[in-house]
């Protein structure tokens, strides 16, 4: 091919930037409308209780095996990696407090949210994306069912309720992993370990973790549904929707983590 004709298709860099910025604000505006629609429809009857319960089962129960494994390993590994540093100062008795703070404040919410973004978010993106592409969403609409309410509202509610529960569960499993490690190395008893764990936590810690988990859950649901519900036509669109759901949700989770921690630390 003549290199000159090829070049004509590449717009100058300035245009590329302005177009992606336009695209960016366009997307932000659309997501904003999507979220507004959620808040409008979530309070209007009919309520899709059956579908909400079904989605809670899909999000919560089906994530348990993966979450259990990751949570447990996180607890064990984090404890084993922290031990040498504390041992340098002869402070291994501080291990349970350190672990408790690290797991409850940061690790459990982040690990759970990232895993859920990967598993649940991509699943929602792909599922709704393929329903969109094969006109199943249109089919719902013409049979006089509101697909936004049936598919989207129920999924967002499910992640918003279930992610905090999963985070609690992850924290528990991770602490059990940490306990096993501490118990076999420092012979700390179960009662001793958990009394140290709870002593190091404040109400603010528990509140901020619950709040953060709820925000993470809402984010995963909104992003997964948005990407799927607005996926482009064709099988390629489904893959893109699933992929975009994971990438965008993970990115937002990190941003939210930074912002929420900054706010909470201002109250400490």
């Amino acid at each position: 091919m003549d290199p000159n004709t090829e070049n004509q298709n590449i717009p100058p860099a300035k245009h590329v930037i302005s177009r992606t910025l336009d695209d960016f604000f366009f997307t932000v505006y659309h997501v904003y409308q999507f979220v507004l629609r959620f808040f409008k429809e979530v309070f209007l009857p009919p309520y899709e209780f059956k579908e909400i319960i079904h989605q809670c089962y899909e999000v919560g129960f089906k994530s348990l095996p993966l979450i259990s494994l990751t949570g447990f390993i996180t607890g064990v590994v984090f404890t084993n990696q922290s031990r040498p540093s504390l041992a340098n100062f002869g402070a291994t008795s501080w291990l349970p407090s350190l672990i408790s703070i690290a797991i409850v404040r940061a690790l459990a919410p982040l690990v759970t949210a990232l895993i859920a973004a990967g598993k649940v978010g991509s699943n929602m993106g792909a599922e709704l994306g393929s329903m969109k592409v094969t006109e199943q969403i249109d089919a719902m609409e013409v049979s006089a069912t509101n697909p936004f309410k049936y598919l989207v509202v129920s999924r967002i509610l499910a992640t918003t309720f279930m992610i905090p529960l999963l985070v609690m569960y992850t924290a528990f499993v991770a602490l059990m992993g940490a306990f096993l490690s501490v118990h076999s190395n420092e012979q700390t008893s179960f009662a001793m370990f958990f009394s140290q764990v709870f002593d190091s936590l404040s109400f603010l810690d528990l509140f901020s973790t619950s709040f953060k988990s709820t925000v993470f859950g809402f984010t995963i649901g909104v992003v997964g549904c948005y990407c799927g519900y607005n996926s482009s036509k064709g099988t390629e669109g489904v893959g893109k929707a699933a992929n975009a759901a994971v990438v965008a949700a993970m990115f937002l989770i990190f941003v939210e983590e930074i912002v929420i921690v900054a706010i909470v630390n201002a109250f400490r």
Partner: protein, 257 residues
């Protein structure tokens, strides 16, 4: 089954479209469509792919909004309806999608009861089962009731798709390419199913197709969508007696391929 052509009562129009325009960006798809569909008839809309046939019936069922013009369905102006009123209208308008659009996470039974359970919430379990069995019987697929859509053939999926819209007893049926992608024998079966539905459920139908056999078998009247307008309407023979070059090339293409 050979079709007995309906006598058309031209005073009783169920769908009435005037000056309908629709564009996507710079692409002007529908450019002033005028169309009447009369009570009880099967109207076939013919046109090459990409001419906006699907867009037209999506506008009729309120899935897309027109840019300009009036679309009146069963006495209601579709574009002006509130969402509740649109839902009520949609109960009377069945839509059979080109790729069937069966819910692939549900069994055939669940697919069929979905519209029913959601729109008449106080039906008894036995009534729902009766309805499901009756429409499934009407499309001749009683044995598939517990199967998943992925286990069905293309023709079976089409039939289930049609059954799912019949379960709400629509007054109007919109078929989007009912025979596309099917083998000739299955096409014949689908054509006679469309005629049976017209007889049994007393529906008024729009059948979109580019398959002339299907048009001939099912249509009481044919309308050809050419360059965004219905230039030519009439019976099959009337339409193809036209010496418009576009009509002739369409005819030749279909019967010489």
């Amino acid at each position: 089954m050979l079709k007995t052509k309906k006598a058309i009562d031209k005073n009783n129009s169920v769908i009435s479209i005037r000056g309908l325009q629709k564009a996507f960006g710079d692409l002007h798809i529908l450019r002033g469509v005028d169309l009447d569909v009369y009570q009880g008839e099967n109207l076939v809309v013919l046109g090459r792919s990409g001419t906006g046939k699907s867009v037209l019936i999506k506008i009729i069922s309120g899935l897309l909004l027109p840019d300009e013009g009036q679309v009146n369905v069963l006495g209601e102006e579709v574009a002006l309806l509130k969402s509740r009123e649109l839902m009520a209208l949609r109960l009377k308008v069945g839509f059979s999608f080109q790729n069937s659009a069966l819910y692939d996470s549900m069994t055939v039974r669940q697919n069929l009861e979905f519209p029913l359970v959601r729109n008449s919430r106080n039906l008894k379990r036995s009534q729902i089962n009766d309805e499901v069995e009756s429409v499934l019987d009407a499309v001749g697929l009683s044995q598939t009731i517990e199967q998943m859509p992925s286990e069905l053939s293309g023709g079976q999926r089409k039939r289930i798709g049609i059954a799912r819209t019949l379960i709400l007893r629509p007054e109007i049926m919109l078929y989007d390419e009912p025979t596309a992608g099917l083998d000739p024998i299955t096409c014949i079966e689908i054509n006679s199913l469309i005629n049976e539905v017209q007889e049994k459920y007393k529906t008024t139908s729009i059948i979109i197709t580019h398959d002339l056999t299907c048009a001939k078998e099912t249509g009481d009247r044919i309308a050809m969508l050419l360059d965004g307008q219905f230039a030519i309407q009439g019976t099959f023979d009337e339409v193809f007696a036209s010496d418009d070059a576009r009509v002739q090339s369409f005819y030749n293409y279909n019967f010489t391929q």
